[in-house]
């Protein structure tokens, strides 16, 4: 470690000497008995031999400065000597330090357990077991939450009650939708550029460059537009849901709501679920359009396809169905993101650390579910021949 010696240097080094004159044994201490000298004095004290000593007098009258570390060493030495059957007749210390010494001597200094217990193999097994049970319980709870939110959402759509927080709903659309436009647009544009570039590069080898546009249109509208938007929103809004609701849990706001008689699911979860279910399809459509523009710009520079030619080719390549197949997934992604985000938020315990942990988990879970659901849709559509 750096320059420690300098920092903890003492004015006069601590000293100790064992004087034997006949039966009277005197342990003479002097100098600064401070923390900086503790290690050296500890070793010196341990190196002393008290063979054949029955009585000892500890003379610390020449100690110039004493702190709790030094005082502790003297207390410990006395305890050690007495345990060996050596009688300590007196401990002489300067007046100013007597209170400190007595205070330490008065404490029952049991050797304390200092370090966490070592992990054993059975701990390891217990951890696996706990993890498995935790996972199953979590899945069970999530399904329960899914049911509850589905029922509440359905009721809210079928029979809108006057207490449905409309301003909160609109605010959620703004927060999750409107403010996400720049980042979603930017990413969609770049993905359009990349797709067009890679597609053109490969298809050029077969002289089929013009199909770049088919590839771009179908790939973007059916899969990538929706998937990329959902993943960005899972990272952006799903995490925000968990953090917001989690902070309210830490603050006991959700508890306050319950005591007032508010339905937490209705007040906090519904506006988020419904808001995101409106915002995400809109964002997906926007991402599709911006992605196509990115691809159009790239095909113009790379292949020299003019914009009107691009439009004509695109029109023949895609149909309304292509767009709808992509868009139909968006509300489902939105539901999953909002559901997981709120679910994890409501599981936050009353400490700040759990907000961070569950926010991370919420994002990982919702991205995993989005991709799994997307794969499921691909299989479903191919079976149905769509």
């Amino acid at each position: 470690m750096r320059n420690i010696a300098v920092r903890l240097a003492v004015a006069t080094p601590a000293t100790l000497r064992l004087d034997r004159s006949g039966r009277d044994v005197r342990l003479a201490l002097g100098g600064d008995w401070l923390l900086g000298e503790a290690e050296r004095m500890d070793q010196a004290l341990r190196a002393l031999h008290f063979d054949g000593v029955s009585q000892i007098f500890v003379d610390g009258s020449r100690i110039s400065r004493l702190d709790s570390a030094g005082a502790w060493l003297i207390v410990r030495t006395r305890q050690m000597l007495e345990a060996k059957g050596v009688q300590v007749t007196n401990v002489l210390l300067p007046e100013t330090y007597r209170a400190l010494y007595q205070r330490l001597e008065g404490e029952a200094l049991a050797p304390a357990a200092m370090h966490p217990r070592r992990q054993t193999f059975s701990d390891f097994l217990a951890r696996i077991g706990r993890g498995t049970v935790h996972f199953l319980r979590q899945t069970y709870d999530l399904v329960g939450f899914l049911g509850r939110v589905t029922v509440e959402t359905w009721e809210a759509i079928l029979a809108p009650r006057h207490e449905l927080p409309l301003p909160a709903f609109v605010q959620q659309i703004e927060e999750t939708g409107l403010t996400a436009l720049p980042i979603v647009g930017m990413l969609a544009f770049l993905i359009g550029v990349v797709l067009a570039y890679q597609g053109a590069d490969q298809l050029k080898r077969f002289g089929a460059e013009i199909y770049t546009i088919d590839f771009l249109g179908i790939g973007l509208l059916r899969e990538l537009g929706g998937l990329v938007t959902a993943i960005v929103i899972a990272g952006r809004s799903g995490s925000a849901f968990t953090a917001q609701i989690g902070t309210m849990r830490v603050n006991e706001e959700t508890d306050a709501m319950q005591t007032i008689g508010l339905n937490v699911a209705e007040v906090l979860v519904l506006p988020r679920v419904l808001g995101l279910m409106v915002a995400l399809p809109l964002l997906t459509f926007y991402a599709d359009v911006v992605g196509l523009v990115g691809g159009m710009v790239m095909t113009y520079f790379d292949l020299g396809v003019t914009f009107p030619a691009f439009m004509r080719e695109l029109e023949s390549a895609i149909s309304l169905k292509t767009l709808l197949v992509g868009l139909i997934k968006a509300p489902i992604f939105a539901f999953v993101i909002a559901l997981v985000g709120c679910f994890e938020g409501l599981r936050v315990e009353r400490n700040a650390g759990s907000v961070g942990r569950l926010t991370t988990r919420s994002v990982v879970e919702s991205i995993f579910l989005i991709i799994a659901i997307d794969a499921g849709f691909s299989i479903l559509f191919s079976v149905l021949g769509i």
């Binding site: 923390l35 290690e39 709790s68 100013t96 400190l100 304390a112 357990a113």
Partner: protein, 261 residues
């Protein structure tokens, strides 16, 4: 205010012309304050009066708008890290909720300053940590526990043990009794006073608690109207300022003072 060290006592903290302002809001308007070796200085004031800002300014966590703060003759507002190194060895700070490092056990928390500043052996550090635990009145098995496993009162004691790890000369305490039940609070007051006397500490104590003031403080600085008024409980309870009067002579103040009589 003329409390400059004319009587020969050594000021450990010396504040001159301290101004703290956030935007247009002035918190401290040219404060002067001296804290002398061996005394316990209590700081009181209403919520938002700038008690915590004052404490944070002294320990260098908040950069004042202007003014000078010297601790052990060294300016704390300028320079950071290495420049303040020797100060960090000489002071200990107890934060309001203990501010224990949550990833480490209580004993490891106490050893953090030792690891940073000394090259003691592991055994010696374990012994010293056990001694500090006993000193602040924590049971021996508390050392192996994590901060999340102990109560609020124990966290404060553990935080105090960490603040005392290097045997500092100067101890800062931020609301040491807030959130404690009255019995734990008065035990904590006794502990602070007892440690202050046996270790010969100088203490700077921010509090709301009148009982703490009565039990531990030699002098009291009241932060009121962006200024400081200094005195003892007796002298301040005769102060004409309405806030100070209400504080010391209101129902709670009278009850706390009555115990003294």
């Amino acid at each position: 205010m003329s409390t400059a060290g004319t009587d020969g006592r050594e000021p450990i903290i010396r504040i001159r012309g301290l101004v703290n302002a956030f935007g247009d809001t002035i918190i401290h308007d040219h404060l002067d304050l001296d804290v002398y070796r061996g005394e316990v200085m209590g700081v009181v004031g209403g919520s938002g009066a700038g008690k915590s800002v004052l404490l944070r300014s002294i320990i260098g966590l908040n950069h004042p708008t202007s003014g000078s703060i010297k601790v052990f003759g060294q300016e704390t507002a300028v320079g950071d890290g290495e420049g303040r190194g020797s100060l960090q060895l000489r002071w200990g700070v107890l934060f309001q909720e203990g501010a224990l490092f949550s990833s480490q056990t209580v004993a490891q928390n106490i050893q953090v300053p030792m690891r940073r500043w000394t090259n003691l052996s592991e055994e010696m550090m374990d012994e010293l940590a056990a001694m500090k635990l006993a000193l602040v009145g924590l049971p021996a098995d508390a050392g192996a526990k994590y901060p999340s496993e102990i109560s609020g009162g124990m966290k404060k004691r553990a935080g105090l043990a960490r603040a005392l790890a290097l045997d500092p000369e100067l101890l800062f305490l931020d609301e040491p009794t807030s959130g404690l039940d009255p019995i734990s609070a008065s035990q904590f007051d006794d502990l602070v006073r007892n440690l202050q006397q046996s270790l010969g500490l100088t203490a700077f104590l921010v509090t709301h608690d009148l009982d703490t003031l009565r039990a531990t403080c030699d002098r009291i600085a009241v932060l009121v109207d962006k200024k400081i008024k200094l005195g003892t409980i007796e002298s301040l309870s005769r102060d004409p300022n309405p806030w100070i009067h209400e504080y010391f002579c209101g129902p709670r103040g009278r009850a706390a003072l009555a115990e003294r009589a």
